[in-house]
Amino acid sequence: MIIGFDVICLCLILLCAILALYIKDLMGAVIVFGAYSFLMCIVWACNAAIDVAFTEAAVGAGVGTVFLVSTVYSTTRVDSFKKNRFITQLLMFFVVCIVGSLLLLTVTDLPEWGDGNAPANAHLSSYYLENSIDDTHVPNVVTSVLADYRGFDTMLETCVVFIAFIAIFAILRVRKSRTNNDETSKIFELLVPSYQKVDSVIIKTASHLMIPFMQLFALYVVAHGHYSPGGGFQGGVILGASLILLAISYDFKKSLNYLSEKKVILLVALGVLIYAGIGVICLFLGGNFLDYSVLSKILPATDSIMARSHAMLGVEIGVALTVMVSMYGIYLCLSSNGRFDKGL
């Protein structure tokens, strides 16, 4: 680990964070925030958290920024209202200072940065590292912990993605047929800035070329999660990003031809269902929920350890499906203000 590099990165991150809060123009703030996220990825990668860095690059910096940009586009990028908030800000500054100094006080108690024998690195994590191969035959310990040891967490996490999609869909979706005659919808139309339809051949062709490779790569990330960094979340987000790219470079009509609204809802649920379904099958086979080892009873030519490995692939596929479709669905909702007609 190059301490110096880390320190520089961390200082840059701090700078970006301050800038993101300081810049008045929302679009600028969002972009700086994207940079902040990418710098964060680098720090994490330096700290050997390659899966986290991967996820942050795809989810936090990538899709997250797209969401932010969509929102800024659908609302407004300038905030002209001025009111002196100095008192509040000062008060909050003191509150934050108190909390912060308390946190700084605890720093002395914390182990040094990179101390391999710190308690946090000893108890559970050493067990995972030393037993993952024997227990599950999966060399990527992150995957085995994610999908097996703490599989229940991951199922709920998939659920969170599902919830986010359903929630955003329920909040934002407005059906044209219902609002057409409505007076308010006309005002609503006026509020949303009009989009200039850019019909760029270059972008279209480039994305046309890119999308298949993106998707192929994403499938590789999903499938090869056992042996290399990656897995359902990362792969799912990349798949989702490819669909988002499609929607951005062409229009909603084309992307909705591939994946209609109805299909989106079904597939999001299906992804979680695959995950939970595997757990329930384990239940029916006499094991505990998500106890993949009992799947060896129905999977041909696998012992109980390989069954775990195979089942992990299954749940990763479920995760990928949910994440892909919900990222796409959330993008559709956010960028079109819930009307599903035209986006960024």
Binding site: M1, I3, V7, C11, I13, A17, I18, L21, A29, F33, M40, V43, N47, A48, A49, I50, D51, V52, T55, E56, V59, G60, G64, F67, L68, S70, T71, S74, T75, K83, L91, M92, V95, V96, G100, L103, T108, E112, W113, G114, A120, N121, A122, S125, L129, I133, D134, P139, V141, V142, V145, L146, T154, I163, A167, L172, L191, S228, P229, L334
Partner: protein, 129 residues
């Protein structure tokens, strides 16, 4: 100086988190609040990641030798060689949860905007009263 360098990440974590927290509590623009929220969350993620870092360790993928039948050969693994996988998977979850919250917050922001024609909390409160 050495001490500060050894705990540098924690200090940065504290500053980033407090920056985010301050932004959430005292900025008036809704989108800015959400950005602050994301900054706060990444601060916590950085906290977890740096507690799991080990000097001179590799990424937590076990270098495994296999026999001819593709069965892994048993070998003793020293956990010092690999970074902590536990904090990493926890943070995978946290990142996904974070983006889900962000998305939901943005959806709400859009609705607030269509309801009050503004993204500024003060302006909205003024229009309500």
């Amino acid at each position: 100086m050495d001490y500060i360098l050894n705990h540098f990440n924690y200090i940065i974590v504290v500053i980033i988190m407090m920056l985010g927290l301050w932004g959430m509590l005292s900025l008036s623009n809704l989108v800015k609040k959400l950005i602050s929220m994301a900054i706060f969350q990444t601060g916590i993620i950085l906290f977890y990641i740096s507690m799991g870092a080990k000097k001179g360790s590799s990424i937590p993928i076990i270098k495994q030798a296999y026999d001819d039948h593709h069965h892994p050969i048993h070998q003793t693994i020293n956990h010092i060689d690999y970074a902590n996988p536990l904090t990493q998977i926890l943070m995978l979850t946290a990142i996904v949860v974070g983006v889900a919250t962000l998305g939901l917050g943005l959806a709400l922001t859009q609705r607030v905007y269509s309801e009050h024609k503004s993204l500024n909390e003060d302006e909205i409160l003024e229009s309500l009263s």
